[in-house]
Symmetry: D2
Subunit: 376 residues, 4 copies
């Protein structure tokens, strides 16, 4: 079988998740290409070597510029902070490498636009942004049911991504709290997920927003005993309208005490409703308004049946999947797209759409900001 | 025992709920006054007589002006649509009657201001607005825990009141869909509840809002076979800031398919979180951040213990209460306030605060509207 | 309207619940007879007088023998401990009074047989045993769905009634812990409910059992500072077979730490499943096996719709009922049965069937005991 | 690093799960030995070769007798039906191979006894039975909390393993429905899990049982168009007592319509309660009776914190694990045990204890069967 030779840049949390995906994908899915974990790239040679050994990569590099030029690499998988995405991705694309880039696509709209343009100008090369939660089976089922018209016209969307790891003021600074490295805070890191998921699930665009952001704890200790300035938002809330007229509320926060990783989305339409919570990622709640009122209610679908998205490859009904499986499904879909020459989604253009919304929210301060349509 | 002689205006849904409260209150609570269901008032004599018989009132009137002047009435209980509240309440207060007025207090800020002024100018007379959900035991427990500092500084509030009885475009017109009778739509009817409950639970005021409202189905059949214009909102969403700096999201809608009466409120603070859903009104979810992380999570408190608010009067632990009990607790607290000469809450002034927020949301169209402080 | 003049014996927990039912029933339901709370009976004159005043009864008696002979009493409502049921009920029936008797019907099979015989021999007189949970709307809906064939052939039943009020060894003695007064312990008090509800819901009889009972804390303090012997079971578990062949498990305990009043029943059949928990008494879980597997699961029915049993009389959808409403529904159904001359259920004969099962469990000690069919 | 060279017999459902464990274990856990997937064994050469390729084994064999004698194999991992366990395991042990054997240990008590004896007589060789659910983090946390005394004296256990894949009479015959291959039906396949988990979690033994088993659909179509006899139970229910006196109920069934893989266990003790459901395997419900009653209830612990068992190796808080992770944890613990020379649990002796209970249930027919203590 032909191989898809992967070079991965970055080897922290995301690097581990992506490694597990490349390692497992061909063991469960029958695919036209076999992923080969060719090289891992990290700036520190010792740490890169150790990571390659631990995570199972055949070699390592310390300079991504070298990696993106290696002849034995077909795909560059970017798992670094947002400030490096544009440079790496554009170089890789220019070298004819397929690219999988972690989300958010970039730290600024300008960078994202340049990346989308580079992607559009690279014939025969596939690029994809890692909004992995689209590939959680329950989310994919949700998308399928909406696409089949099961909720009818969308009236309401409520989306929230709730975490609590910054509630304690003693939690130290990290690159995620620096505007220079991360661009935005909760808004960019987790708010981006709910913007992508809502536009994906409804098949509609956000046409305007009104939002508030807040840095609740502006100074934090650094690991070296000093004090660091938090230069990004800790939390963001915003209202939006969708192209079809629906009203939507959004919230992204790292201060929702007790909520660990609660990405929640609920869609209410003229024919039904669907609700999802990432803290119960194997479940989907579905209300079908066409059922008799005397026996109607929200149905808790345990999304582990063979006719659910991706599930035929895994275990019998009732046997749960976890967080990492979304990455395996992402790898599966990307391999399929590369092998068949189809544009994978979310494309860099899709991810630019997310960026336009985040940028508007960051500028809103409670006022209404229309979202421009991206240039075709 | 001395009696508190009640005259009730209106005898529909709210009239039935209030009647059950007056009927039951002294059977479960030991109180200094006994409620007497003296007179019911309705415009149609036959229907008023039948309602008085069915609901257990000793007499009936057809003109509220007569009722508010009857010597044998101590308290006027107003259960009519919002356009009549101001006139009846002010007349009753001027006649020295205590007043319990259904929510929202009025259809306009001007009316609400006049009512609050009349209440302030009626010495020895008690007035109260019927934001009954404050008296659901789980909500009262939530308020107690917040007041005890159990959530610490409030960072986030998310409040929603979700119903679905207007999703079907064939659902006919009613007075609740007419701006003339109801003032506002979902925003006034159910949005008012969540504004009141958030200000009550946090002990903070909303200082500004940005909101959107929408009439999703603008025309509906009338019961006589014609077509009526819906002149109020079907749904409203808004962002807010509280005096303490917290970020809050609000949603009030009659189009949340599958959600029947889901008044939900969640508060995240520096020391803990609390969450409530009226569809499970005997439960409160509590996260206490001071517990060890290895055994922490949201605790589902079944609010049926004797040391929970109001519960000692009812059944053994684990025996649930229902919707109507909030009204009985409201009657209990109002009787206590009248007997002891204390201002009951929510006062008309508290209810005016709600009105100021609703008015700002209705005018916002996505732009930021600061909420003026009511004059002291 | 004609009256149904009620005399109630006993005025503790059950007396308060029954009083609320008689007080409310005609206020919500249109019925051919109006309940009149004529007399309450208690052994201590002062306490009986105070109870009559508090609970709203027009008079009181101190001897039930007098009550059951009063000409102005149509129905005797027995709310006393089990050791007195047989004597009072049989006397009332012989005097031509209708009888509502709290559960379990009696402390022994012999007493229950005598009562069932007395009931059968009293022409024109109605008798009913107070297995009230049949009248919780969700339970009534469950029964309706089973009767309509929605679960098909019943394969499994699991029933449990879990409380925890005896876990603390310092909880004092009460009449409920004395074999002389209560007959059985958890088995009789709450086990009886699940036996009745399972036979009622399935329409089948239990044909044999194997059970274990246990007294986990055999001595407890008495209120006067002494020590009392617990002479009943604290907990009972048993297996059973139903006439249709289904396998059933039962558990009744006052030692299920953290479970306050969890009467749970689940039925699995060839066509579907239904599950109920009294701690969420407004909900019913329904799995309809005929739905497509890709969107199937348990549907949480919020049993508050007008087409649900009893609900049209109450509040709009989504407005919950509580524990006490089952008693109001029981009063409603009993009044209807008396007015129309139909035998109300559960009859004394139905309640005798329960008694036969409890008796077998108490004698089983882990061995199989077939349940005799009661004589026709 | 030294290797642990694994040879796996069988490559169906369990073979895939074990393969994923051997593949992933060293990528997440720092261990003294590295697993090497040396050889897979299956009777059909083509299918074995394809499986080795798909699942990632370096070679394959078609005769387990060859496999257990290969010098380059350190551990034999038995994933075949129960009728072959004894022969393979005993041969492997005699050859000085470590053994991991799928559950239930054997089809008969005699076989299990022979295996336990062979394990005890193989010095320096480790053996373990694959009751994997012990290694679900929430179950491991449950065990830890019980061991710490957090539930106090155990009063009640209720355990159920509910599936529904046989409800449809058209579901075809399989080896799992044949007494010859599988020994027992639901009782052996899934009932064994709950017997093991209860004895493990409580640290107590079952001292006697009374049970019923049933074959609800005795004939099923075969894949070749014929009809096969189901010679095992479809469902089993039983009562038990534990050494400490607790009362326990058990149910294992493949006919619980709508329940896909609901292994549920709840323990009620004098100091608290714990409840688990495999359909929500990342959650544990904990009731701590020492908390104030006014704020007490079951706490839903999301078992994804770094101080939870096994979790430090995986993802940040709130990121869920799935079914397969239990196998990885099993591999981790077995590797540690082999490297450090400690007996891993569950040992073959532990698994024999399970077998003794299953055997008693199968013979009970509703009568009480004491469980003999296994010979030391």
């Amino acid at each position: 079988m032909n191989e898809l030779r992967v070079g991965m840049v970055g080897h922290a949390f995301m690097g581990a998740a992506h490694s597990q995906a490349w390692r497992a994908v061909n063991r469960f899915f029958d695919l036209p290409l076999r992923a080969h974990m060719t090289a891992l790239c990290g700036r520190d040679a010792n740490r890169a070597a150790a990571a390659a050994e631990k995570l199972g990569w055949a070699s390592y590099e310390t300079d991504w510029r070298v990696l993106v030029e290696r002849d034995d690499i077909d795909l560059v998988d970017i798992c670094t902070p947002g400030d490096t995405h544009a440079e790496i991705a554009i170089a890789a694309l220019r070298n004819g490498k397929h690219v999988l880039c972690e989300k958010p696509l970039a730290n600024t709209v300008a960078e994202a636009e340049a990346m989308a343009e580079a992607a559009a100008s690279a014939p025969g090369v596939r690029s994809m942004c890692g909004y992995t939660y689209r590939r959680v089976p329950a989310v994919a089922l949700l998308a399928r049911l909406v696409a089949e018209g099961r909720v009818g016209r969308v009236h309401h969307v409520r989306a929230a991504y709730l975490q609590d790891w910054l509630v304690d003021p003693a939690t130290p600074m990290s690159w995620r709290l620096s505007a220079e490295r991360a661009g935005l805070g909760a808004l960019g890191d987790i708010g981006s997920h709910i913007v992508d998921i809502v536009q994906h699930l409804t098949g509609e665009r956000i046409t305007g927003v009104s939002g508030l952001t807040e840095t609740l704890v502006p100074e934090r200790p650094t690991v070296d005993g000093g004090t660091g300035q938090v230069t990004v938002d800790d939390a963001a809330i915003f209202l939006a309208r969708l192209t079809g007229g629906a009203l939507a509320t959004f919230e992204a926060t790292r201060f929702a005490t007790g909520r660990k990783n609660a990405l929640r989305v609920e869609i209410n339409g003229s024919a039904g409703s669907l609700a999802f919570d990432l803290e119960r990622l194997n479940e989907l709640e579905y209300y079908d308004a066409s059922r008799p009122s005397g026996e109607n209610g929200f149905t808790r679908i345990l999304v582990t049946e063979p006719d659910h998205p991706y599930l035929a490859a895994w275990w019998p009904p009732g046997h749960l999947l976890g967080y990492e499986h979304g990455f395996t499904h992402q790898a599966r879909d990307l391999i399929e797209a590369i092998a068949t020459g189809v544009q994978p989604r979310p494309s860099f253009a899709d991810a630019l759409d997310v960026q336009l919304v985040l940028d508007a929210v960051a500028r809103s301060h409670g006022e209404w900001i229309p979202i421009p349509e991206r240039r075709p």
